[in-house]
Amino acid sequence: MASRRQVLGSAAAILAGTTVGLPRLARAQAKRGGILTAILNPEPPLLVLGLNQQAPTQLVAGKIYQGLLRYDFDLKPLPSLAKSWTVSPDGLTYTFKLEEAVKWHDGAPFTAEDVVFSCAKFLPEVHPRARATFDRCESITAVDRFTVAFKLKAPFEPFLYAFLPAGAPMMPKHIYDGSDFRANPKNATPIGTGPFKFKEWVKGSHIHLVRNDEYWKPGRPFLDGVTYRVIPDAAARALAMETGQMDLAQGNDVEAFDVPRLAALPHIELSKKGYETVAPISWIELNHRGAPISDKRFRQAMMHAIDREFIVKNIFFGLGRVAHGPINTATRFHDAKSVKKYPLDLKRAEALLDEMGLKPGAGGIRARIKMMVLPYGEVWVRQAEFVKQALRRVGIDVTLESNDAGGWVKRIGDWDYETSFDFVSQFMDPAMGVARTYISSNIRKGVPFTNTMGYVNPRVDELFDAAPKQTDPARAQAMYSELQAILTEDVPVLWLTELEFPVLINKKFRNVNIDANGPNSEFDEAHLA
C-alpha cells in the first residue's frame, strides 16, 4: 500500500512538474533573449556550490549547478536532474531515474557515476549538511547508467528533502575525482549542468553568466544571460531598483524600511516567497540552566509580555509573520491548531510572575536578566530595544549586551549567556532544522545552533526521534502536532517572528521566482514579458 502510494505520489509529482515547471505563459508566448541584471551582495568567495553554500554563492551558482530535485512553494518535490523516483515500502531504498540528455558545460555526459561520486565522495568530505544526510546511507550505487539507488541504514522520511541544489549539488566526477577538491584549478571556472554557464567574473564589480545552448530542457533557457552586480551599499541598492537599473533584489539587499516604498513603485513586484527552503524563525534563546528562566511560568510570562505584532509591523516593516511555535508555517508539518498561543497580555504575564513569587521590588522590578543583542545589523538592535522595554513593563529588567559575531556565537555555543536573540533556519523538514535545537541528545557544549539552552523533555526527544521514521505522513503529522503542543506549552525559547525576505523583481521579467528555492534557483523559465 505504502509503496504504491509513494510511487503514485512521485508520478503525480512528475505530472505536477510538467504543469508547474512549464507554466502557462511560457509554453507559447515566452520571448527569447534579454539579460537579467541582479543585485549581488556581498561578493561570494567562489562559485563552486559543492564547496561553498553561503548565500551569495547559492545565488549565482544556483544557475550553474543543479540538484536531483526541486521543490515547489509548498515544498512538494519536483523532478530536476532526476526525472522520477521511487521509495521502497520499508522506506529504506530511494531509487532515482536520471534525465538522459544532460551534459556538463564542457560537453561531457552526466550519468549515475556523477551522482554516486557527488553523494558518496565529494559532498561528505566538504559539505557538512550533506555529510549528515549521506551518513544515513548504507550504500549509494549506480544501478545502471541513468539510475541511482540510495540504501538507508534506518528509515528517514525527510531524505527526499536532501536534494536541493545547495543541499546536494551534482558535481562533475571527471573533473574532481582523485584531486584535492578544494584546490582543484577548475574551481575558478565552475562546470555544472545548469541553464547558464560561467562567463566572466570581474572581482568587485560583476559576474556574467551566459545561456547554455546545450541545456537539457528543450527550448530553455529563454534569457541570454544573467549578470550579477556587486553593490555593497544598501542605499545604492535601493536606488538601483528604484531607477530600474537593477532587475532583481533579494534577501537583505534592500533594508526593511525601504521595501514598502519600492514595492509601491509601478515597475516593481514584491514577492515574499522563495525562502521556504530556509524558513528561519527568530527567537529569544533562553539558557534554562538558571533561575528564573528554568521556570516555565517565567518563560510564558515573557511570551505574554512581548507584542510580536508590533515587531513585525514596526521593526520588520511587515516582512515576516508572528511566530507562534517551533515550526515555521512554511515548513512541513506545521500545525496552527495545536500550538498554544501567547497573545499580548500583561495581566496574565504579571499573574504568572506573581504566582512564581516574583513580586515587584524597588522600581517595580521583579527580576533582572541579561540579553545579548544579535550582531547582524540595526533591525536586531531595534528589536532588542523594544523587547527590553516590553519586558520592563511587567517588571523584568533587561540589560542588553552587545557582542561581535564571533563573541556572540562563542558565548551561545559555550552556554555563557542568560538570554539572547537568535534566528535559525529550518531547511524544509522539522528533522533537518527544528529538532536540532530541542532534543537533549544535541546538547553539545561548544557547538552553536544545537540545543544550547539545555532544554530536556523526554517526550520531545522521543517524538523527534520517531516522527521522521514514519512512512505514513499522517502519523508523522500527528507526532509533530503533539510536539508543537508540548513545545508551545514549555516555551523553551521565545519565538518572535517567522522571517520573510523580500524578492523585488522588475515587472519586465516573468517567471523569475517560481519555487521554494526562490532567487537561488535556475531561472530556466524566466523570460521577458
Binding site: E255, F257, F310, N314, I315, V373, E378, V381, R382, A384, E385, F386, K388, Q389, R392, T399, L400, E401, S402, N403, D404, G407
Partner: protein, 278 residues
C-alpha cells in the same frame, strides 16, 4: 571675584554658561518632566512634532523624542564628564612626570604620547569600544584613552617652562622638597591651561560619545543623543525630526562648552586672551 568679572566681560561665555546651565537643569529634571523611561513606547510611531501632544514627535518605534532628549542629556553629560576625568588623570600625571622629570623620562613619555597622537584617534576609539563591547565603562575608558595626549602635552609644556622659571629655581635653592615644589609651586601655576582645555575636552567628549552612539557603539541600555540620530538616520527621508532635535541638542551643548572654555581662557589667562580678540 576678579575672575568672575573677567569671565562676565566675555558675552559669549556668559551665553554659553547660561545654555550649559539649561542643559544641566534639563538633565537633572529629566526624571521629573518625563517620569517614564525614554525607551518606553509612548504612542504610535512617526508622529510629527506637535502631533498628539508630542512636542518633538515620536520615533520609529513610537518613543517620545522629547523624553529621549531630556534623558539623553543625563547620559551625554555624565559620559563626557567622566571620560574627561579619565583623560585628565592620565594626561596630568603623564604630563607632570614628563615635564618635571625631564631627560629620558620626558623622552619616553613624549614618544608614547606622540604615538597616541599619530594614530587616527577616532578609529582607535571605534576599535576599542567595538572590541571591549559597548558599555559605560568601555566607552568612558576609550574616550579617555584617545583624548589624553593633547592634555599631557600641555601639562608637560607648562611644567617644562615652570620648572626653569626662576621662582621654582628659588624653591630648589631654598631646599624645598620635590612634592612641595610640584604641588606648591608648579601645579597651581599650570592649572589654568588645564582647566581651559578640560572644559574644551568635555565638548570633544560629547562629540565623540555621540559619534560612537551614532555608529551603534553606544551602551545599548542608555539613551543618548548620538544614538537617537543614528537610529533615525535611515528614515531621514520620512521623519526628519527624529534626527534633527538631538543634533540641535548636541550642537548647543558643544557650543556652550566651547564658549565657556573660551571665557575661562580669557578669565584665567588675561594676558594671552587679549591677543586673540584685541
Amino acid at each position: 571675584m576678579d575672575f568672575l568679572r573677567r569671565f562676565a566681560r566675555n558675552k559669549g561665555a556668559v551665553l554659553g554658561a547660561a545654555v550649559l546651565a539649561g542643559v544641566v537643569l534639563l538633565a537633572l529634571l529629566a526624571p521629573v518632566i518625563f517620569p517614564d523611561s525614554p525607551w518606553e513606547i509612548a504612542g504610535p510611531p512617526f508622529r510629527r512634532p506637535g502631533e498628539m501632544g508630542f512636542l518633538l514627535g515620536t520615533d520609529t518605534l513610537g518613543r517620545d523624542v522629547a523624553a529621549g532628549i531630556a534623558h539623553g542629556a543625563r547620559v551625554t553629560l555624565l559620559l563626557s564628564l567622566v571620560s574627561t576625568a579619565v583623560a585628565l588623570s592620565i594626561g596630568v600625571i603623564l604630563g607632570a612626570v614628563a615635564g618635571y622629570h625631564g631627560g629620558w623620562v620626558d623622552d619616553l613619555v613624549m614618544r608614547f604620547t606622540e604615538f597616541f597622537q599619530t594614530i587616527p584617534n577616532f578609529i582607535l576609539l571605534v576599535v576599542l569600544v567595538a572590541i571591549f563591547t559597548p558599555s559605560i565603562t568601555s566607552i568612558v575608558t576609550a574616550i579617555g584613552i584617545v583624548s589624553w595626549p593633547p592634555l599631557a602635552r600641555i601639562v608637560r609644556g607648562e611644567f617644562l617652562t615652570l620648572r626653569s622659571r626662576e621662582f621654582v629655581q628659588a624653591a630648589h635653592v631654598l631646599g624645598q622638597s620635590s612634592p612641595r615644589i610640584i604641588f606648591g609651586e608648579i601645579l597651581p601655576n599650570a592649572l589654568s591651561p588645564v582647566i581651559v582645555s578640560a572644559s574644551l575636552m568635555v565638548a570633544t567628549a560629547v562629540l565623540l560619545e555621540s559619534a560612537l552612539s551614532f555608529l551603534g557603539l553606544g551602551d545599548p541600555n542608555l539613551m543618548s543623543w548620538g544614538y537617537m540620530i543614528g537610529a533615525a538616520r535611515t528614515v531621514i527621508r520620512h521623519a526628519w525630526w527624529i534626527s534633527f532635535f538631538p543634533g540641535v541638542a548636541i550642537a548647543l551643548t558643544v557650543l556652550a562648552l566651547n564658549l565657556v572654555g573660551e571665557g575661562l581662557s580669557d578669565a584665567l589667562n588675561p594676558r594671552l586672551a587679549r591677543k586673540g580678540r584685541a
